[in-house]
């Protein structure tokens, strides 16, 4: 039944698209969870001392690197199979 509706090539392309979406989406959720604690701590430190603004921002965005990895994986998937 499936064979009759979707070709192998289309099935692989579809799976790659779903994988790319998951790579970015899950990495985003993970980064968000990580940033919640760091962000809260950064806001706390900045509220007491404005001098922590730069350092606080820097530390808050560090988990964003995980999203970049997810993005790279999604690009590889899309370029290889998309």
């Amino acid at each position: 039944m499936v064979d009759a509706l979707i070709s192998d090539e289309a099935f692989i392309k579809g799976c790659a698209a779903v994988g790319a979406g998951l790579a970015v989406g899950l990495a985003g959720i993970g980064a968000g969870a990580g940033e919640s604690g760091i962000g809260a701590a950064a806001v706390g430190a900045i509220a007491e001392d404005r001098g922590f603004l730069g350092l606080g921002l820097l530390f808050t965005v560090i988990p964003e690197t995980i999203v970049i990895f997810g993005l790279v994986i999604s690009f590889i998937l899309m370029f290889a199979y998309g």
Binding site: S36, G37, A41, G44, A45, A47, D49, F52
Partner: protein, 338 residues
């Protein structure tokens, strides 16, 4: 939900860490020791205490100015911590701060007994607990039985209702016992609450061992010591306390080996101020260790609150000592310098 709780602790812990970095260091105290009383006040006007000293400076002078300014600053700092915290952290901090309700009520009652004017009583209160400054001020102008009636429904009522039939120090002990009992009996379902309850239990240990040693030096009987013991200690349970209370001073100092505070206080002497200072130092090191083991809990906040109280006490000792011309080494011996 988990990350929300952690975020709440991350926020308040980061804030208190910054506040902790502004506390006076050991070298600041050594510098202050070489200053005169007026120079100390001027030094403090450049620090966190500036606002309070400026506000009260026109009404008071000398060590009374310092006392009032320090008490106001302490209350303000504690209230701020409570205001900026949220979630479980707020509940635990509020419970911790209720000790100031006991302190304030005791001071008001002592003042009433001594016939002190309400204005003088205001100097001693630290409105950081559940009872607001206005409420405490309203109590100051009431009669003793009215104050006791006002406390109906609070954990302190039972102790306060004994006023007149037992000595005042027994009432005070009972009030602190009621405060500690409420915390020790808290249902510790969450890990953070468990850490908090254990922290309080360790504090009870320190209070109890200080009481035992102090009363032993005074020559009190075993029964007298046991009456003053606060139940619910961490390692120093009631049974352990009973055993220690029946020993001589030398036997006690040998038996302390193995308790969590032992390492810091290996050589217990019969000097009262040394006992106080050494056990306070042991307590502070224990909190520091536990706070760094559990950075995302209420412990670093409590550590700051304890250190702030130690700083205020040190400044008070320094101020009064300098004002009355005590020698520097004598003042330093009374202070808890970390």
């Amino acid at each position: 939900m988990i990350s929300r709780t952690k975020a709440a602790y991350a926020y308040i812990v980061a804030r208190t860490k910054v506040m902790k970095s502004r506390l006076l260091k050991g070298e600041d105290f050594r510098k202050l020791l070489n200053m005169s009383f007026d120079e100390i006040v001027r030094f403090l006007e450049e620090t966190e205490y500036r606002k309070e000293i400026d506000e009260i400076g026109y009404r008071y002078s000398g060590p009374r100015l310092l006392d009032y300014a320090l008490a106001s600053n302490l209350a303000k700092t504690y209230r701020k911590i409570l205001q900026v915290s949220f979630g479980d952290a707020k509940i635990l901090i509020r419970e911790y701060l209720k000790r100031w309700d006991v302190w304030n009520i005791i001071n008001i009652i002592r003042g009433k007994n001594a016939g002190v004017q309400p204005e003088l009583m205001e100097e001693t209160i630290v409105p950081a607990g559940e009872f607001s400054e206005e409420y405490l001020k309203s109590l100051m102008v009431k009669e003793m039985d009215e104050i006791v009636k006002e406390m109906e429904g609070t954990p302190y009522y039972e102790a306060l209702s004994k006023i007149g039939s037992v000595p005042m120090n027994v009432v005070e002990d009972e009030m602190y016992k009621a405060y500690y009992r409420k915390i020790v009996e808290m249902p510790a379902r969450e890990f953070e609450t468990k850490l908090f309850v254990n922290f309080i239990k360790m504090e009870i240990d320190i209070r109890n061992i200080k009481t035992i040693l102090r009363l032993k030096i005074d020559g009190a009987s075993t029964e007298e010591i046991l009456e003053r013991i606060i139940p619910g200690g961490y390692e120093l349970t009631e049974d352990e306390a009973r055993k220690l209370a029946a020993m001589s001073f030398d036997e006690i100092s040998k038996s302390l080996e193995g308790y969590w505070f032992w390492k810091e206080v290996e050589n217990v002497t019969e000097e009262l101020s040394e006992i106080e200072v050494n056990f306070d130092k042991a307590w502070i090191s224990a909190i520091a260790r536990r706070a760094s083991n559990y950075p995302l809990s209420v412990l670093p906040v409590l550590q700051y609150m304890v250190l702030k109280k130690v700083e205020v006490d040190n400044l008070r000792i320094l101020g009064w000592g300098k004002y009355y011309g005590l020698p520097n080494d004598e003042i330093e011996r009374q202070m808890v310098i970390i």
